[in-house]
């Protein structure tokens, strides 16, 4: 017998700041309000757009386009750099508001939060009332230009879908009563987790819209479409049952850098790699971890990609450790080609100080020196003390906010 749609009262709220980076910039600069602006990683023509404003979206400007493409769509579009301090501050204020309503607040990214209201006293007020209250408080406590989309449902998947139904500044609830109407008004690609490849896979199995997806049986999804347990998860998700309430543990720390002036000069590339290792090492040590593995990826000028990862039998903790191992991998690359992007990450994390004690106590001393250097940088500001290779490159690898989960380290 088929599983029915979840008829419980909705307890999950998904809140999404509208065009976060751009709206925040408009909040801070009143003269940008109501104008098509884009926030781009770099303001140069090839800079990638990370957030178009609501007004820019009306001209067809989307995330991922280049500044050049945006100017072709609207020649007077205003281009600005991201201001990470400003956006992080808005995020903190944003999250703080939700904590007044529920202790179960899960930031999913810099502009997205999931709030669970099950067993909370606020639940009795009704989630729709709370939603309108949050919108009002956001305008009052964060800024009058800040708006958000709110979705309410029985699970995170449907709550996110609900939040995308009426942009900007919408508030929608999906329950067992309107779920069929909602599914009939959206396409497969509108469902969170379905991209063009999954869409093609569903299409090849005779599923062309969300209603057909909902009606597909569990066995069919598991055995024919997804050929794994993923099919079972989709079967539950589509019916409003929660399967996403798992805390994902951090498995790696990584940094990358797109090089403005492409180069094959090993000294210049080593300097960049050192800075990436220093930033990565600071985050690794701040989280109280050490890593056994390191991965290096290089995108060349001709868009070919080379990468290699390696695990070692001794854990890496200091920036020096990470840099030496990264350089070891780096020297295996194709040396003649110019590099346009370089990325480094460390993985196989374990809590620091649990790795095997070294016979020679020089290791312990190096760790203590590294911790002391971190403390100096914490106290007097980032890069007060740096490795000599990093001299004169303070602003080369800029502070950026990544997509996905919010980095607290």
């Amino acid at each position: 017998m088929d599983l029915q749609i979840n008829k419980n009262n909705p307890t999950i709220m998904h809140v999404d700041l509208n065009s976060c980076f751009a709206t925040v910039e408009q909040q801070a600069n009143p003269h940008l309000r109501g104008k098509p602006i884009v926030i781009a990683a770099y303001t140069t023509p090839n800079g990638c757009i990370v957030a178009p404003s609501i007004e820019a979206k009306k001209y067809g400007i989307k995330v991922g386009m280049t500044v050049r493409e945006a100017r072709l769509l609207y020649k007077d579009v205003i281009v600005r750099d991201p201001d990470p301090h400003l956006v992080r501050d808005v995020h903190i204020k944003f999250v703080k508001i939700f904590k007044d309503y529920s202790p179960f607040v899960y930031p999913k990214s810099i502009d997205e939060v999931v709030v669970e209201f099950k067993d909370t006293s606020a639940f009795r007020r009704g989630l729709v009332n709370i939603g309108f209250d949050i919108k009002k408080r956001l305008r009052k406590e964060v800024g009058e230009w800040i708006s958000c989309n709110i979705g309410i449902a029985t699970n995170r998947f449907l709550a996110k879908l609900a939040s995308s139904l009426h942009k900007p500044d919408g508030l929608d609830v999906i329950t067992y009563e309107n779920i069929l109407d909602v599914y009939s008004s959206v396409s497969l690609i509108d469902l969170n987790g379905i991209n063009t490849r999954y869409e093609a896979r569903l299409n090849s199995n005779g599923i062309f819209n969300p209603l057909q997806f909902l009606k597909a049986g569990e066995f069919f999804l598991r055995k024919n479409v997804f050929k794994s347990i993923v099919g079972h998860y989709w079967y539950l998700k589509l019916r409003g049952f929660e399967i996403d309430d798992v805390e994902i543990k951090r498995k790696s720390f990584g940094q990358d850098f797109a090089i403005g002036k492409k180069t094959s000069d090993p000294v210049e590339l080593a300097r960049i790699l050192m800075k990436l290792c220093e930033k990565m090492g600071r985050r690794l040590r701040k989280s109280g971890s050490e890593a056994f593995g390191i991965h290096l990826g290089i995108v060349y000028e001709d868009w070919t990609y080379w990468h290699k990862s390696k695990k070692f039998n001794r854990a890496m903790y200091t920036t020096d450790d990470l840099f030496i191992k990264a350089m070891w991998i780096f020297n295996m690359r194709k040396k003649e080609k110019k590099v346009s992007k370089i990325s480094v990450s460390c993985f196989e994390l374990i809590p620091a100080k649990t790795s095997q004690i070294n016979l020679f106590d020089i290791e312990d001393k190096r760790r203590k020196v590294s911790d002391a250097l971190d403390q100096i940088n914490d106290r007097y500001g980032e890069y007060v003390i740096t490795p000599a290779l990093m001299m004169d490159m303070k602003n080369l690898v800029l502070d950026r906010i990544a997509f996905g989960n919010v980095d607290k380290n």
Binding site: A28, N29, H31, K35, I78, R80, L86
Partner: protein, 98 residues
């Protein structure tokens, strides 16, 4: 004529300035807030009409207060160093395309 050119300089801009400026502030004891009321920059006075956003940045031990303000014509980003109590005008913008 000179006056016109002087004013036209502000027509198309989003400029990083990083200059020390003189600022008159108002402190509200009830709200516990500080509001920059007037800026003197390059010999001209700008009366601030609105605080658009305020936040703090901590860099090591240093604490900076960032005020995004406007006089109705130009948006200013001001930084107050809480250690030295120096005000720095970091950025000006009139919201026009570059």
């Amino acid at each position: 004529m000179l006056f016109v050119i002087y004013n036209l300089w502000f027509l198309f801009m989003n400029e990083m300035i990083y200059e020390k400026v003189s600022v008159i502030t108002a402190y509200d004891k009830n709200k516990g807030t500080v509001f920059p009321k007037k800026i003197r920059w390059q010999g001209r006075d700008y009366i601030i009409t609105k605080l658009a956003y305020y936040h703090r940045i901590r860099q090591g031990q240093a604490l900076y207060h960032i005020f995004h303000v406007t006089d109705g014509n130009i948006d200013f980003r001001l930084k107050l160093d809480s250690y030295t109590l120096h005000w720095v005008l970091e950025e000006v913008s009139d919201g026009s395309a570059d």
